[in-house]
Symmetry: C2
């Protein structure tokens, strides 16, 4: 029995490893020196406990090359803490570096803040069935990577200009919705996006000109933007150039606050879950 | 005993969560409905099993605000697989988009490839005692985030040009070591780097002009580059503008191969570890 306890601890760690590390059932059985039938029993218990404790869900793929995939339950406390940091930071007057411009590069590159928010957007957009996350360089990259991590799908990077290292590229020019300046973006012809359903992720959305241009560019590759997720959207202009934007925060009249769906999502988790080993 | 088994499964997941989610001992005791003394015993067992199984190490901070920090053991198989993908991809002739230029943006934005390599560089450079990772936009960002994640320290982003959103910035111009073109980079004055020990991380290093310029720029902020980590370094020029570069791969005579320290690190792990519940 002591051996079983030790095996279950190791197994729990193995199956809850980061995405992309999907362990195979036979690999784990070998590593733990048990028959696959024993492993299946152990796995069933681990799955049940993690689900009950609200820690996440284990999905098992059977058959040849069968493995497990752990989908982490959204950690609502981390989401709330991260949102608080942004709300309070964006209240600091010296973060406004120009009309409609906020300095938040330092916060956007702190993984412990961006990862929970990426998981939040991933949960919101998972039903779009996307196979790719797209972002335009630069500040939205960490959030795009966080969404991609949560959904175990890759990121495609749209460049601001052509680079020699990208090889032959397709570019489009567009009028920025807020600044009315001509901007351009480009995507390498060999970027693996053809036919994909894509989530567009960025740090900031005002009129949505960048999101719209990215969508147009991706359409040239026969890829379709099926969802847009951003950290902050501005209240003005109210009419955006893309439909159906999932924003974590809304910037309105010099204050930043969580959007209604986020408030609702956080409230829905106020109900305490079952706890294993509890009374 | 059954309750204890269930508690240990939940506890294992709690303590091995991603960095930044450091759970407090009292928070976990509350969630699991046990006394802190019981939790300590459980934690000791989980620590022992994970260590024996080569899955990682739990560090406990005692006292007020005490919590645990899980440091994942380098997953050598994932590192080997990720290196293989780069080695094979860079062998494809159409990835060379110009003399000395490789298209690898698609691979650099796949978290399951970049995260193990970030962990490899983090392990190599952990003894430098850095408090920050710095990178220059754009392609090195995912690797920089992966190193930052493994070390639980933030990333500071150096921009290629001044942006209104960055506010007042300090810029430097420099001569690119390989192309002999004048380039520039800038860092927001309010970037939180003052006095920091910094790891510079990038995707690619030829002469090291960018790394050198970043180091010069950071010195203006009284921050010091104490280590350089890159995915690929070129064999030529042999004399780099920065000392002591940790590269995962070396590009030489149209072929890419793991560097000697990487080969050595992977070989050191060929010894099979203890397995819990094993014979």
């Amino acid at each position: 029995m002591r051996d079983r306890v030790r095996r279950l601890i190791a197994l729990t760690r193995m199956v809850t490893r980061p995405p992309g590390a999907t362990p195979s059932l036979s690999g784990m059985a070998d590593a733990l020196h048990v028959a696959k039938s024993t492993l299946s029993e152990d796995l069933a218990l681990v799955r049940e406990v993690l689900l009950e404790a609200g820690l996440g869900e284990i999905h098992t793929q059977v058959g040849v090359g069968g493995g497990v995939r752990f989908v982490e339950r959204l950690d609502v406390d981390r989401v709330r803490d991260a949102l608080d940091v942004f709300v309070r930071a964006l209240d600091e007057p010296d973060r406004v570096t120009g009309p409609g411009f906020l300095y938040m590069t330092d916060l956007l590159f702190r993984p412990e803040l961006v990862e929970p928010l990426g998981a939040l957007l991933a949960e919101r957009l998972v039903d779009r069935g996307a196979g790719l996350v797209a972002t335009v360089e630069t500040k939205g990259i960490p959030l795009a990577l966080a969404v991609s991590r949560a959904l175990s799908i890759p990121v495609v990077l749209i460049r601001r200009d052509n680079r020699l290292s990208e090889g032959s590229s397709l570019s489009i020019n567009y009028l920025s919705g807020s600044s009315h300046r001509i901007q351009s973006m480009s995507l390498a012809r060999r970027a693996p996006v053809r036919g994909a359903r894509v989530l567009f992720v960025d740090d900031f959305l005002k009129a949505g000109g960048t999101a719209r241009a990215a969508s147009d560019l991706l359409r040239e590759f026969e890829a379709e933007v099926v969802g847009v997720g951003v950290l902050v959207a501005t209240a003005s202009p109210a009419a955006k150039l893309v439909a159906d934007v999932a924003a974590c925060l809304l910037w309105q009249a010099d204050a930043v606050a969580p959007t209604p769906w986020v408030v609702e999502r956080l409230a829905a988790s106020a109900v305490p879950g079952n706890c294993p080993g509890g009374p």
